[in-house]
């Protein structure tokens, strides 16, 4: 089981202190264990970010709301039910708001690739 920040530290580290970041425990290693919830969670988020690194949105930044939607989808990809994912994504949005990050604001950082081992 690994702790998993809902508001990714690599994205929000300058705004939300790592130790204050909401986290959820997920089974598996995000880098080396394909098909585990933690790996699938990050695989989903990596797809989201890759659009801003090399894809059609290259150079742009998503809004916090768009990140929130991607987070919800990643939680579902990690095996949570729709209701659980919606609830956690809402908590993450509330925390972002508490740190002054509006839904329409652009995210401060696009994280680098995490280098997941291929299945």
């Amino acid at each position: 089981m690994q702790a998993n920040h809902l508001n990714q530290n690599a994205v929000y580290e300058g705004v939300i202190p790592k130790n204050d970041g909401l986290a959820v425990g997920m089974r598996g290693n995000a880098f080396t264990e394909p098909a585990t919830p933690h790996y699938e969670f990050h695989k989903s988020l990596e797809r989201f970010w890759e659009r801003y690194r090399t894809g059609s949105l290259k150079g742009q930044r998503p809004t916090n709301a768009e990140y929130g939607q991607a987070l919800q989808e990643a939680l579902e990809a990690g095996g949570l039910t729709r209701a659980e994912a919606v609830d956690l994504a809402a908590q993450a949005a509330k925390q972002r708001a508490a740190y002054g990050l509006a839904p329409t604001d652009l995210v401060p950082r696009v994280p680098g690739r995490i280098g997941q081992k291929k299945p």
Partner: protein, 159 residues
Amino acid sequence: MHPRTIATLEQLEEAEWFSHVGVKDTTAAIVLSSWQEAIEHCASDDWQGLCLEATNQLCERIVERSKERFRKWNEIVDEVKGSTEPFVLRKIKAVVQEHNLPPVFEHTVQWDVLHVCMEAEYADVFPPAYYASQAYWYVKGHFPCGWQGQFPKGKLLIY
């Protein structure tokens, strides 16, 4: 686009890109010896991660100074890409064809030139730095494509 950005693109337009690749005419960077090496380096997660981090740093400095201006980031990216994408395609066409260079080469150059322009667009908020120094090597006829060592220690790799 801001007149500063237009002037930057004009400077890049006047330069003969890739005219000095492989020429060891500097001690300020390590000059690679082949396109193969250059492509391996520019395609690496390390180099792409470093360039992405440079962009993140730029964005963070802009947010610190003007949230209002940063909100226009995507709008400006769209506008600038309208000019830089065809411009880069035209400038790299010959070298891509001659050396059969892969798509990652175009991606790297597009990314660099886009962000040279983004630094120019926001130069009144935060002074151009990382990508302006990349532009210097394009103007000199080289291709900046990697880093040797642990950034910021170490040295730039160019072809």
